[in-house]
Symmetry: C2
Subunit: 474 residues, 2 copies
């Protein structure tokens, strides 16, 4: 490469790329433009900051601006890239002192995503939030904290203090609405319940956590109810209303009076500023190849704004998650100073905690999507112990596996249970990457000892049952 | 097949085969000869019965004799097979009423292993034990229990009551010696410490848990010491001594006075009764092919008495563990009534708990063995968090991975830590089965959420570091 490596966006993908490139080639000029204050923070930790399990906001920072500068990276916060000219190989930057143009040798677009705010109004009211970014997490916690107990030191120097302190002055709510039953909704149900709020969760579709399949969605809804959360599925919210401050949520089944409303109805890639400079994929995110390269020379994209290739199909997919961003950023940083490094495929692997339940998913779980991808899906769901039945702490673990009747290949799976169920999905994710058949999975030599697993790990039990079904039907 | 399916040995491999064959073909005659009283029990659970976490001995039974008979299996306990005639296709059986001959159509040898008792004397003394089988577990617990507190109902109807009750009458010991620092030794150190005994563990080689590698062995030794266990490595025991009852253990460094001694110095396959009827492998266990077939027609072998093929090398190996036995038994039972079913390869995957530490291992960890198998091994050890660093409960997880410098292939790995470290080895075991390279492992899409894993799972961190080293050295 020649010329400056310019990174747009200072979070997971951008900072991973900048750090790796600079480490592998210290002579390289690396500039990171970040439109906000925060860089390199753990978005996935914000629900636990709101809950109070993570004490300080800056505990969620992976790197401080000082760390980044010590790495020799030219970090420019409050610098927003508003246009990319791939012919001139420049970006246009709006910064506190005006607008400038920065040439690039290589460019990484890592602008992430933003919380969807449609289709309802009212998110500008006090007490109405999306959870995206540290400022919103800080504002929510400040709003939940009684003014007398609010400690400004909870918020580190980089946060949007005005907004947060305005929220800290408000009297704490007693009832909460969560709009959306995906990751954010489920995690926030746990977080708000910890504040002793009366929590109602609204999910437009028929079950929670749609990517985890119907069985897990129902189990999580039941579990939320056991913890006192009111769960309305199949119930769309049309508005968050109030006079200055949120006081009600209007939905299909009527309205519910609340003092706080949190919307978590998905995210959208930040690609509008590109204005056609890079090709987008069918998902609306930036199209990339196996190395994170976009449609334009010397321009890469990674993280929540970019597509990646799916492990099972090899086709482009958009699954905005933390590891994908970190991994792709690092690979691109490495490619810039050496041999091209694949960014890695995505199996859509995800794990989520819902109170005491852990859930995992990877690959295809939805038969309709699998059929659309050209497979002949067949699935089985089993329940087995997390440990030997006689060993203390053993808990039911439910595993669903989906396979292809024609080829016998494993297509995906999901896990749920109260004892170490979530990370059992890693076996499925690894098997998907390796194109293992369901029959091969049932013969995996997984670890067995009574405190950790029954002789037949739940993944093995599920694969035995599914392999038997595939065998009998083919 | 034609004729009776005769199974020698009524534990994991034997009962799995008998059950599967009978389920798939209810018209098949299945006879299981078991020389003892106990069938189908969880050997790996015995330390936790001794410890007291498993209350009743019969909690360790997977199937009762009644269950087995209800499956239509002709179970004959106290029947010892003393010879096999592969020409006549018969077995000779010593039973309570005399000696008989039983013809077989197919034969499965599943005679398991027995605890090694050499090279020291004294295991016939009261208070000296090996831990192999439910009777020895019951005897140890009875011996540890003050006579006034001993409840005969702790022992179910099938146990060797005479031996157990003789031990129950003895005054409980205050000091214990454990001879051998393998699985049994480490698990028994935890179990005996729970009885408030002063425990000394002797290990002949330089570190505990040799199959887990030196780093884990040392960490486990330190952890045992933190829990009050005295650990002597590089110290061989020459005798367990006493007058009727054990009172001292004589070892390289002198002698130690104890009231109980437990020897766990390995197991040996029960193959002597075959008297050359079947070929043995280099390990001394019965040689088998990918389908569990031995050197003789219609004769199978499975479980602790048999070899299996190693996942990494494809060569025969002997790693007597519970899943291997269950899996092979089931596959053989299935093969008898349908298409031949592979018994599955073994990666030597094992997990073990040592007080609060969990340890896992799979494949090759020892560079010398890997070189002997034709590889050019290179390894790296890293320490990473079990969860996101800011999330409560995160604990250090140490991962060692071994790869082949020439091909880049992953050869094995080990994990250790206080928070869910053990089962992280399943990712390694799955990758080994799929012949993944270290580079492919570093790109696995594993599950990430703060309560369950850092963004980069410890396995990914280790594979990144090892892949970098392989790349830089090749």
């Amino acid at each position: 490469m020649s010329g400056t490596f310019v990174v747009v966006g200072g979070d997971a993908a951008g900072m991973s790329a900048a750090s790796k490139a600079k480490r592998d080639d210290p002579s390289l000029d690396v500039i990171v433009f970040e439109k906000g204050e925060w860089v390199s923070y753990a978005h996935c930790g914000t629900p636990y900051y709101v809950k109070g399990e993570v004490e300080k906001l800056h505990d969620l920072l992976s790197l401080s601006p000082t760390d980044i500068e010590e790495r020799g990276i030219d970090l420019r916060r409050n610098h927003e890239v508003v246009a990319v000219d791939t012919d001139a190989e420049t970006v246009t930057v709006e910064e506190p002192d005006g607008t400038t143009t920065q040439p690039y040798g290589d460019l990484l677009v890592a602008t992430g995503g933003r919380a969807v705010t449609e289709p309802f109004d009212g998110l500008s009211l006090d007490g109405a939030f999306t959870l995206h970014g540290l400022d919103s997490a800080a504002a929510i916690r400040a709003y939940l904290t009684p003014p007398a107990e609010y400690d400004p030191d909870d918020v580190s120097e980089y946060a949007d203090r005005d907004r947060i302190e305005r929220h800290a002055d408000a009297s704490p709510p007693e009832r909460a609405a969560i709009v959306g039953g995906g990751y954010v909704g489920v995690e926030m149900a746990e977080a708000l319940t910890a504040w002793d709020l009366d929590v109602t969760l609204f999910q437009r579709s028929e079950h929670l956590l749609p990517p985890f399949g119907e069985a897990i969605g129902k189990q999580v809804a039941d579990h939320l109810r056991e913890h006192g959360v009111t769960v309305h599925t199949g119930t769309a919210v049309s508005a968050i209303a109030g006079d200055g401050r949120v006081d009600t949520v209007i939905h299909d089944a009527g309205h519910t009076d609340v003092g706080i409303a949190i919307a978590g109805v998905g995210i959208r890639p930040n690609v509008e500023f590109l204005d056609g400079a890079l090709d987008l994929g069918a998902s609306g995110a930036i199209a990339t190849d196996a190395y994170g390269r976009t449609s334009e020379p010397n321009v890469y994209a990674a993280g929540d704004c970019a597509e990646a290739l799916h492990t099972v199909t090899g086709d482009p997919a958009w699954v905005p998650l933390g590891l994908t961003a970190n991994r792709a950023g690092r690979a691109i940083g490495k490619s810039l100073t050496g041999e091209p490094e694949p960014v890695g495929e995505i199996a859509g692997t995800a794990v989520v905690k819902a109170f005491d339940l852990g859930c995992g998913r990877a690959g295809f779980l939805d038969a309709a999507s699998a059929r659309e991808a050209g497979f002949d899906p067949v699935s089985e769901t089993i329940t087995a112990g997390s440990r030997s039945g006689y060993y203390p702490g053993a808990a039911e673990t439910t595993v669903t596996l989906l396979g292809d009747r024609t080829s016998g290949r494993l297509l995906g799976g999901a896990t749920v249970g109260k004892d170490r169920a979530a990370k059992r999905i890693d076996t499925v994710a690894t098997a998907l990457e390796a194109d293992l058949s369901v029959e091969e999975v049932q013969r995996l030599d997984l670890g067995y000892a009574p405190p950790f697993s029954p002789v037949w790990d739940p993944i093995l039990v599920a694969s035995k049952v599914l392999a038997g079904r595939i065998e009998s039907e083919s």
